[in-house]
Amino acid sequence: METIQTDIAIIGAGGAGLRAAIAVAEADPSLSIALISKVYPMRSHTVAAEGGAAAVARENDSLEYHFHDTVSGGDWLTDQDAVDLFVNTIPTELTRLEHWGCPWSREWDGKVAVRPFGGMKIKRTWFAADKTGFHLLHTLFQTSLKYPSIQRFDEFYSTDLLVADGRCHGVTAIEMRTGKMHAFQSKGVIICSGGGGRIFPFTTNGGIKTGDGMAMAYRVGVPLKDMEFVQYHPTGLPITGILLTEGCRGEGGYLINKDGYRYLQDYGLGPSTQEPRLKAMELGPRDRLSQAFWHEQRKGRTVKTPYGDMVYLDMRHLGEKKIDERLPFIRDLAKSYINVDPVTDPVPVRPVIHYMMGGIHTDINAATPIKGLWAAGECACVSINGANRLGSNSLGELLVFGAIAGRQAAAYARSEGREAKGDVARDRAAAANARVAEIFRRSGGKERAADLRTSMARALEEGAGIYREEESLKTCCSRISELRERYASIEIEDKSSIFNTDLIYTLELGAMLDIAETVVYGALLRTESRGAHQRLDYERRDDVNFLKHTVAYHNGSAPPRIDYLPVIITKSQPAERVYGEAAGGSVEQ
């Protein structure tokens, strides 16, 4: 095993990891940074975000509005101190990205353009056509190249955090090119490893979104928070689940059922107006829109296709010019993957797993309960998203809290100043190495990772989808428990060292099974309906018993131990979420 000494180790080099690395480098250029990722930075899934990033930018907008949209959008499960910090900081962060070269779309006067987004009272979503995540990621990656203190370890798969005495001393990672285990001994570790949407079968998430960092933190005792809240995006393409951005609706696209009817007006989001209205109809929040699909399906008003039931996203009335200027990638994706041109035909879509509101429990400073360990981005739960994230708040979140995590870790590394505890880190790294070696060398096992992965995804879809109930959740819990047992009998066929994806996929599956269990147990015990967590057997929100965060603790081979934490409420008392006529305003303001 090779040992690498560094001041700060960052796991994941997507938007949050790159932003954190730059923040450390700017805070103190003398601190050494190891930026560790299982893929090259530009492959990270931030790349796939399309629609934009919300930040108050206009005279008619206010931080208060963004705050209230986010808190009510999250069905009051957000921590309001974190939301306050977030909405206050994000305009600066997006401006910084602009200075770093992000090619934001512009108005005629040269100012950054904004578009409307779901659940937002004012249009405030900055965008770079319909590839905002791509541009944000590449801008951060290219900018990161100017800091000599950022040393990248591309294609290193992190396996274990080195934790002893309540402190994190580093992380172990497999160099995929050689198969060699490396121990990164560091004063601080920041986890920026993204979500785990791949626990479900039909998802917008890339293959790399396997919850590795969440599981790593969970196994060393950090609780995972609010994991039962998993977002369905209302508009995914059939077969692949490719995302069609909310920007399609922000630009004026309609959702229609098999009769050509804009069905959202039947679900408290109307009235149906020709011109888009903010917080109404297609610009409602994602949870409500995905749930409306489910009801339409029950009523037999969806479109039957060989790839399942669909509704249509109709953008024909936007015209070719607008679609090509604002949504060129969407047009290309729809034409290429399902042979439908949005200029001439409505596009079949259905809800698709998109984002995990839950994640590694952190405080407002992105700090976990373990000293020297921070988390930011989708892998973390601060929480600003509560029970339902608003579209265009996630790119902002990874910037704001990535930067905070970086600055906090830098300050910690400087003030601690003491030697990393080499002996403790060495012991923990040896244990991690032994754990992985056992999985790698095991022979005589009868299970295959690919089969277990398929079973897991099916169990989650059947048991913990848009609507849930006790019986199906219980079945799902036992299926996941059984799969965790069977995981111990996996035999990896490929025994080679160099770029062994058989080994990596198996380790990823271990992470996915761990986090999947926190999703279903959290969902089983939350006997209410709130945001993205909807129970058929408990249809109402229950603020008396469940205005609280779920925290799931790792419990060995047994199911997680579930506990709860209070929600931080500062100025917005829980109320009815209001969308539709009462909430909306004209988009043109």
Partner: protein, 246 residues
């Protein structure tokens, strides 16, 4: 489900710990008509041979991971439809890069070249963030926007005849990205990039075959970027002869 056709996938395998040379291995794969090459590779990985290694992630042609040679052409595996191909499809690692294993190639060279071109905004004085964003007109954005679209998939390097002859050539994607920053109204780093751009391994190595632009899945057109840079480099040269300065 739709019609399923069984095809033969010939995949170039190379496991350096046991193979002295790369060898083609054939797999029979039942393909629904909506499948892309990547789906067929996943089928092999999950059902026939778990040791097959390749890079992939987004399955929507934006992460740039899955560039490979398909029937001899550099393609993104996630956007290359099998229904448009015959009953035998050959898949090989990207040309012009060392093979790390199977379909995985070593791309260190590209990353070093990219870094050497300083692909970031360079200012003589930084604008404080409190002063807000720069104004940039739609026309100013349009000047460089196309060159921001590069996903670093490196199909252009696999197609480039010049890079095939001489891997010292900086190559299409990295040069296009340098050009992107040179054209950005917020940037003042032209002179600092020019040393590399106009060097022996820079734009002058390009013989303007244009293969890079033909294979680019994002229509970045690196060939035009390189041609434009040749023109500005030539102007610089004559200005210097005349004792002027850009």
């Amino acid at each position: 489900m739709s019609e399923v056709r069984t095809i033969t996938m010939e995949v170039l395998r190379y496991r350096p710990e046991r193979d002295s040379d790369p060898v083609l291995q054939s797999y029979r794969v039942p393909c629904p008509q909506e499948w892309v090459v990547l789906d067929a590779l996943d089928y092999i990985k999950n059902n026939i041979d778990s040791s097959l290694s390749y890079r992939w992630s987004c399955h929507m042609a934006v992460c740039g991971s899955c560039g490979m040679m398909v029937n001899g052409e550099p393609m993104l595996a996630c956007k290359t439809f099998l229904r448009e191909m015959g009953d035998t499809v050959r898949v090989e690692p990207l040309l012009n890069f060392p093979i790390e294993r199977d379909l995985v190639v070593v791309i260190d060279d590209f990353l070093e070249k990219l870094k050497s071109l300083k692909p970031y905004i360079i200012r003589k004085t930084e604008k404080p963030v409190e002063e807000g964003t720069y104004l940039q007109t739609k026309a100013q954005l349009k000047r460089f926007k196309q060159y921001t679209l590069c996903i670093n998939c490196l199909l252009c390097y696999a197609a480039c005849p010049q890079y095939a002859l001489n891997t010292d050539f900086i190559g299409p994607s990295a040069l296009a990205l340098a050009h992107r920053y040179n054209l950005d109204s917020r940037d003042e780093g032209y002179a600092m990039r020019q040393e590399m751009v106009a060097s022996h391994e820079g734009v002058w190595e390009c013989s303007f075959v244009g293969a890079c632009s033909e294979v680019c899945p994002k229509h970045v057109d690196p060939a035009s970027a390189v041609q434009q840079m040749k023109i500005t480099s030539t102007k610089d040269y004559f200005l210097r002869l005349l004792g002027g300065k850009r």
